[in-house]
Every structure is written in C-alpha cells, then in structure tokens.
Symmetry: C2
C-alpha cells in the first residue's frame, strides 16, 4: 500500500466515454428493433444461467463488446421482455427515449440529494416536478408544495408503491398512537383494504409492526364492480371500534391490479373522516390515465385523502423506477420518519419523507419526460392505449365463445372463454399457457369472483394496433386448437375407458 500509483487507473474517462456509450446505445436500439421477434416470455428453466456464467468475477478488465455479446447470448434468452410490443401481462412498465435519457442524466450526474444542502437542485427540482404532475392530474391544492413557507402538503418521488404505503402507514400509526385517548397499543391498530387491494398494503402493514391478524380484508363483488363499498368499510370499522381496536388506515384503489376496479373515493373519504383514519389512495397504474380529462373524474374525492400515489414508471413512459407520492401533511411523514425532530424546518429534506437516506435524482428523469414528451403527447399516449384496449374489447365481444369478465375502465381487458364454450373448468388456464407458450404474446391472469380470467393489459410503449390484432388472432387460434383438443381428449377418455373396460375382460 505504501507507494503512490505512477499511472492512475481511469474508471471514468470523458475521452473514451462516447465510444463506449455508442456500443451500448447501438445495442439498445437494436434491441428495440428486434424485441418484437423474441419470445415474449422466457422459456428457460430455473438455474439456466449458472450453467453459462463463470463462478467468480473477472480478474482483469474486459471490453464492453464482450459484455454485450454475453448479454445477447446469455441474458436476453432468459428475459421476459417487458418492452416487447407483444407484452400484455401484469401492468406495463413503459420505457421511452425521454425516460432513458433522464436515467442517463441521473446516473451521469450521480448526485445524492438526501437533504436540501447535500445538493440543493435535487430537492428543488423534485418539489417543482411533483407540483407539475399534481397540476396535470388536477389534484387539490392541498397536495401541492406550499412554496417558500415551509409546511403543508407536497410530493416526493419514491421507488415503489410499497415504499409509499410503508411511509404513510408509519405516519398513520404514529399519529394514532400519540393521539389523546389512544391506548398506545400497536397491536390494537387495524388497517382496511379490499380483497382487490394490492398485497403490498398487507405486506407494509406487517412491516410497520401491525399484527397480520389486524389487517381487514373487506370483500367486494361483481355487484359493486369489485370496488369497496362505504357501507362495508363503515361496518368493519364500527365493529372493530366496539371491540377495542383503533382503526388507523384505509387504502382505496383507483385501478385495481386484477380488473382495474375503482373504489368510490368520495364515500370512502367520508368514512375515513368519521373514524379519523388515514386515507391513502393507491392509483399505481390508473393514476397515469388521470392526466387525461376523461379519467380525472375517478379522482373526485381525493381531496379527503391524506395521501395519494401513482407510478409514472408504469404507464407514463418514465422507466423504472418512479412512484409519485403526495401528502396533505408532510409534517406527519416527517414526524414519523425523521430521527431528529428539527425545530426549524425551513427546507425540505426528502430523507425524512422516505425510508432510505440516499436517493437517486429521479426528479430529473421525470422532468425530462414531461418536457421532452410534453403533456399533450402524454395524454395522446394514454388515449391511444385506451383506444386499442377498447378495440380489443370489441373483438372479444364479437366472438361468441368469449366474454368480457369485468367492466373495462382503462386499458386492461379481462375476459375468458365462456363456460358454454365447452372447454371445462381449466380451459382458460390452458388457453393462457398455450398463448404464452407460443412466445408470440404474453398475458397474465387473475381470479375474480372465483373465476380464472385472462388479463390483457395494453400499454407497452412499442405496442401498435397490429400487435393487438395479432394477439387476438393468436388467442382465437389457440382457443380453437384447445377446444378441439379438449373435445378429442373427452372422446379419447371415453374410448380409453371403454378399451380399459375391454382389457379387464
């Protein structure tokens, strides 16, 4: 260790940067050109990659070309391609040129803005861009930053909804426990969500120390469009209060994971006020749609929410990761997440609005997305996805073997082969396997009202109408093959039993 190096090793050399970048940029551009041709979901078996890669890191530097070659030959075949235009699974995770440029700028500047002073523009741009997004969504003024005057509402960029829920749950928990009249017992706090709420809320409640038994899952039904009802929530809270529990947190959802259902925010807000619970609105997926005038109505009632979150990394072209969380009282968050109660909080220190200390300059990415794409194009992006989903829905409706399983509100269509199509109980699961197994499209499923339904989520950035139509033709083709095969199986089963019977003789 003694002597100083004669020649410094240069891991960050501006002179060679451009050349090495070009190799990677060309690789990425080629990927987008070719991704349509790849099997959407990977057919590899668990453990495949360990067979292909060495057991330890390289001792010496390797050229980027060698790394890219290995990504092509070893990694790409093991990916399920979320950027494929034939990806209709889960919810989309939309990439864009703007989002990617934002990521490069974020990674290139590589500043750490845990507090205002650690790199002021990181905090200030985040506050500004969260106000921009709030205005696009026409959120109530209470969620906007109070400007120069310190406390009030405001937004912060998290990595994920779960993080947003953990933080707001912790704030709700601490607010409840410190309330006059509280029994101060965390094991008496109760949390409310529906059977359609993302499991992240249940995980978060457990994480912040609320016993899993205190997590109330309110059932929904087809009658309420799989949304919560105020009555259901009210009676659950009243029963708990009567039994010595303290209701503390209610999560409403705009655009549930399974079918895109919407909980009735105005009514839920009233119940939340009645019982003094923290009301969080999770619009991870559908929040992006609410920049479009047609959908803003779904956010009516959000004024009664304590917090609201949506993920531009899902449907708003912002690449992973970017979850926007707004609160009406940042003080509640900070009281819970700061270890040092500051007497004078004259600047925002976002470390006190989130779990981690360190944080990436994600605001820069969101800012680049909003400027380079622009509000009008963002709306057009939502509009065209919804139009394609509507078109798909009509195609489903025109095939008498199929039915739409739940009301389509955004760009997610839930559908299935009807029981009358003659495929038996397992037919939709088998259809999903046949479609995904073809590699030509990828969907996922949900179980709602006890039924296995197929989810067709339009929204991948590269998806065009021709992909939607091709996917539908594929689904029809596989359904036809499957129904024929099932008829043959049923006949064979009959034959088999007969011949077996014969064999016994």
């Amino acid at each position: 260790m003694g002597s100083l190096p004669l020649e410094l090793f240069r891991p960050l050399d501006p002179e060679s940067l451009s050349k090495e970048f070009m190799a990677v940029v060309d690789f990425i551009a080629d990927y987008y050109r070719e991704v349509e041709l790849f099997p959407v979901s990977s057919p590899v078996n668990p453990g495949y990659l360990r067979q292909l890669l060495p057991a330890a890191a390289s001792t010496f530097s390797e050229p980027i070309g060698a790394v890219l070659d290995d990504i092509k030959s070893c990694i790409l075949p093991g990916l399920t391609h979320w950027q494929s235009p034939n990806f209709f699974g889960y919810f989309p995770a939309t990439a864009s040129t703007a989002g990617l440029l934002g990521e490069i700028l974020c990674g290139g500047l590589n500043v750490v803005g845990f507090s205002w002073v650690a790199s002021p523009a990181v905090t200030e741009l985040e506050t500004i861009v969260m106000d921009w997004m709030a205005r696009l969504l026409e959120l109530p003024a209470a969620f906007l930053s109070p400007g120069d005057c310190g406390f009030g509402g405001g937004g912060v960029i998290h990595g994920s909804t779960c993080e947003a829920v953990v933080c707001t749950l912790a704030a709700a928990r601490d607010r409840a426990l410190s309330r006059p009249g509280s029994r101060g017992r965390i094991d008496r706090l109760t949390v409310y969500a529906s059977d359609q709420t993302h499991f992240t809320v249940q995980k978060a409640a457990k994480l912040v120390g609320i016993p899993p038994a205190n997590f109330r899952v309110i059932p929904t039904s087809a009658a309420s469009g799989y949304g919560l009802t105020a009555g259901g929530v009210r009676s659950a809270m009243a029963a708990d209060s009567a039994n010595g529990f303290e209701p503390v947190y209610l999560c409403g959802t705009v655009g549930t994971t399974a079918v895109g259902a919407v909980d009735p925010l105005p009514e839920l807000g009233e119940v939340a006020t009645e019982f003094g619970v923290w009301f969080h609105v999770d619009a991870a997926y559908a929040g992006s749609a609410c920049i479009f005038p047609e959908f803003r109505g779904y956010l009516a009632g959000v004024v009664k929410a304590d917090s609201f979150s949506m993920n531009p990394h899902k449907w708003l072209l912002s690449n992973m990761d970017c979850c926007c969380l707004w609160v009406q009282s940042s003080a509640a968050l900070v009281d819970s997440l700061s270890t040092k109660p500051e007497i004078l909080r004259n600047v925002v220190d976002y470390k006190d609005w989130q779990i981690a200390l360190s944080r990436r300059f994600r605001a820069l990415k969101l800012w680049v997305v909003m400027r380079k794409i622009g509000a009008a194009n963002l709306m057009e992006h939502i509009r065209s996805d919804v139009a394609m989903a509507k078109h798909f829905e009509r195609l489903v409706e025109m095939d008498s073997r199929f039915e739409v399983s739940a009301e389509r509100r955004f760009a997610l269509v839930c559908f299935r082969l009807k029981p009358t199509a003659g495929g038996g109980a397992d037919v939709n699961r088998r259809l999903l396997e046949a479609v995904n197994g073809s590699g030509r499209a990828f969907m996922t499923h949900a179980v709602v009202g006890g039924e296995f339904v197929l989810r067709f989520a339009v929204g991948a950035t590269l998806t065009e109408l021709r992909h939607v139509e091709a996917a539908w033709r594929l689904i029809q083709e596989k359904a036809g093959e499957l129904l024929m095969m099932i008829r043959l199986e049923n006949r064979d089963d009959g034959d088999g039993n007969e011949s077996n019977d014969h064999g016994i003789h």
Copy 2:
C-alpha cells in the same frame, strides 16, 4: 376517445434513439471534463429554482437540446457536485463508465424481476453476481447461494442500507416474537447499536414498530477507537433481559460514518449468540475496501453475523443505487416479507427479500462493473484512494497547527486545528465554512468525543493526487487567513471594549 389514431406517437423510436443519446452523452462527457472547475458545493439559496422554471409542465414536446441547455443554466448551478474531484464530503458516491453503461442497459431493457418468473434472468444474474461479490470479499460460504437446492443463505441487491436494515430488523422481530418463550410483545423488544452507528438503524427500528425508547445507544470512546465493546453490549443486554425486555437485534459497523471506526465483530458475534439476537454487520462504506486483501481482516467474525451489507454505490464505482445484502437464512427474510407462505419455494422471488414488489435490474449494472473493470482494477481503485488518504494524513501531521483526530483505517481522514493553534472553540467550524465557501473543495464534519472534527473522505472517482494536494494547500491557506482574522478580531474586541468603555465616560 372513439377513433383509433391514424399516426402513432412514437415515444421510443430506435431510429432516432442514437442521435438523441449522443447529445446527452456529449453533455455528460463535457460535464466530467468541466466538473473540476465548478464550485463543489452549490451557493444557491433555498427556493432559487422556482424562480427559474415555469409553474407547469410543457404542453408540447421540446427538443432534448433545450432541456440540456436548461440543465446547464438552471440545474448545474444548484448542484453540489458529488463527482467533482474536489469532493471530499460525506462518503463518496462513485460513478464510473462501467456503472453508467450498466445503468443504461438496466433502463433500456427495463424489465421487472419481482419474481423469478416475471423475467428469470433478472433473478438469476442477481444471485450469481451476489455470489461473485461474496467471493471477492471472501465471505463465509454460509452467505453464498445454495445453488439449485433452494434454501440457505444468499444475497440480494437493495437500494440502500436503510432498506436492508428494515428488512433484517423485521425478520429479527418476527423471529423473536414467534420464538417459544417470547412474550410476543413488540413493545418489549430492544435493539442495540453504538453512538457511532448510522442513524438509519434507529429510523429502521422505529419504522418496524419498535418503540424509540427501546433503542439502546451504547456509548463508545476514544479508548476503544470509537468501536463498540463486547462488555458494553453484554451488560446492556443483560440489564434489559433482567428487566423483562427481549434483546432482538445488534448492529455492528465496519467503517462508521463519523470516523471510519470498526466494531469488533468476533466478540460482538459471541454476545449476539449468547443472547440469541440477530447480528447485522453494516459495512456500507468500508465493505468495498474489504475486497482488498489488506482489509479483509476487518470482516473476521462476520461468520457469526446473520446478515451483512455493503454499498458498491459508495466506493465501488457502481453509481446510485446498489446496496448488497447477504443473509445466512433467506427463510427468515422471506417468512417476514412474503404475504403468501409458499409451501414449495423452488425458485428465488426477490420481492420476498425486500420491501418493494417492483425492482430494477441492478444486478446487470453490478455485473457490468465487475466484468468491465475487473477485480484487479477494483482493488487498485481502493488501493490508490487509501494511498492518497495516507498522503493527506501525512500532510496534516507535518503541520503543527493540525492534528489527526482518530485513527485512519480506510480513505477517511478526520482532523482538526489543535486547540493550541489559538482559534478558539469555533475555529474548525469556521475553517470548514471557509474551505467549502471557496468552492474549491468540499468537506463535511463530525462531532466525536464532543469535538468538532473535519472529515476528508478521499474516493471520488475523478480525484487524483493533485486534487488532494490542492485541497490541503487550500485548507492551510484558509486556516492561516482564519487564524490571522481571529487574532485581529480578538484585538479589535479588546479595542472595541476599550473604546466602548471610553464612550460611557
């Protein structure tokens, strides 16, 4: 919403990607060329950016050139430049070409690997690269993945140490509460750390529902090099046990934030075993150094830890964010973080090893870093930073006005103007302000043993010996000016008092 779009809006066009990338890449390369000339810490006042930017998002698309112009004129002046070679504050957040290329690949593929099946290569590469890193650190085999056979130890990439601590604390909490003989009361669980432990542990304990009053801060002293002593921890745990508390979690640190102190892991491991507590080792900063043979000894004793974390995004050229967490029992993590207890866990689903559901393909970045840079160069990077810090330490020692305040172990030198230098109680704070105010270097401070000391953390990727030497000359120059000014102030005060006295007459 009715008609389908005639011409699709193309937010991700492979044909225009390269051109737009080049503008950003050139911008980043120029930034690295020029960053040395910028004031390291930003002189802006709170609210500066709101004056410069519009109040709402652009309606229409703007060219990337306009965005870059605004970054140059509005954002850069508000940054404290963590990538400046004159940045010696906090701990470094090292960027590298390899890390940045890894980020682009991660953002470009933009796949979401929350579970194995969601995109298999994401999970498999993470397991492999975490094994690579474990081997570089020569971690005990118990922290490596068990290969194809399911359960055991293994590694996962988190975004931050706080996240890693929250998850391990939750696992420790749930393990303790479900233990036979536990009173099952979260409000009786106690957590142990030193007065030098990062505050993230305290925040995490509060977050998982352990009352702040149950967080035990064990004092350290200069005598133990600001490290915990086994005796101190043992008596605290014994006292708590005697008083009906259940000790649940002990955090040891390798390379504390303030002075880079190292807790004695082997002895702490014994105490942890004795009391059956979860033992976590936080090596966020110094863990990177432990790939270098000279420093591996600091990890002796980690075999008794339940979990170990270190952040390649700090000192191992991996850009933000990348925190590596290893556990000996992944089952303990999964039991706590999974909402669905799986009977058959034959693949790793990393969503159950972390807080969030969604996750970026950070493993790809770490893999690119390890291959493109290579283990030998990573070691050289550590070696040269430590050599520069040693050199700085010698420079401090050669100036009789200064003293080194704590043993230097890695690349962090803590020092101060001696009391005998004649500057008074506040002199080191004023020296820090003078140095940082010059814009020519940036340091932060710590308070240890009641003393305000200056922290000089070598490690920014672009830092060369000339920057370290220039920073030292600047410190000497500012110290000289300051001591002279203080002598003048003292004389003036004397004069002032006299003339004031005269005035009364």
